[in-house]
Amino acid sequence: MPLITPLLILVGVVGLLLAHAFVPSVRRWSWKAFLGIAVVMFLVQPYLALSWAPPEREMGEVQRIMYMHVPQVWMALLALTLNFCCSVAFLLKKSWVTDALAEASAEVGVYFGAVGVTLGAIWAKPTWGVYWDWDPRLTTAAIMIVIYMGYLTLRRFVEDPEKRATWSSVMGIISYVDLPVLWFSVKWWNSLHQVQSSPKTVDPDMTMVLRWSATMFLCLLSVFIIHRFRVAYAARQAEVAPPEALAPGAA
């Protein structure tokens, strides 16, 4: 398979994401396109990751966990960055769309973060000898999950929609401070976790499969956020809608 294939698919997926954001008519079918691409890529991914890609020199076959662990952590960071942007946007201009999108991205981000950290623990056992170590990268990842679970809890406890949206926006902005620390922790401190690799230092076949997996999870992330947004936005509309007796056209 040509090494550029996942990059071409990624360009198409990003284009579709932009269309979803800016062209309302695309929103009716875009999630089906994301789901279709994700399903096809999920069917091919096990062959690429478990057979086609070479084993790593030091870790052997165990390194194949990378094709599931790394993209899911990336998706968590992406979703929580979207949450940060929505939080800032809501404070600048109040909108139930950005509030619902913040809620959706936080929940999906926590989901991908929890799975990604779990896979990291599974990978740590054969390579480090333990499932968990309180090193800077793992600690900041754990803090990220706990903080955003707190964010979601805050949204559950505040009943007034406006107060909830404002307070959670502030918390979303403050919580985001952890993410750059998480990203750079392997460079700033003497971490057991390896530093980020680059395509220059990795076998091209490994890079290709990693990009394939990342694009696949990006499609899945899009499907999850679109549907979670739908749930949140419907709940917001039900909360802020006037009672039937006061609605325009009533009586």
Binding site: Y111, F224, R228
Partner: protein, 99 residues
Amino acid sequence: MALWLLQLAGDVAQVAADAGVQAAQAAADAGTTAAQDAAQALPPPSSTPGQMVGRGRLVGGWEYVWASYIVTWTGIVLYALSLWVRRPKGEAPGTGGRS
């Protein structure tokens, strides 16, 4: 007599120290040899993209790889199910009531 005893004690200490140094040197040599053997046993790094680089130092471990796939697939199914259960009724999917 006391002088002789002191001299004897000094000789014993010197012999013990020499034996310790020799033992440490032997252990260091053995360690170096073992490390060199291990390095020679490793396959050379791949110079051609796509070429197999060997089996790695860790042998096996497929159960951890399968576990990662099982966790991922289980998570996807459960989270998708939770979204389906919570879906708002009576709306076209994906529109969020906005379009």
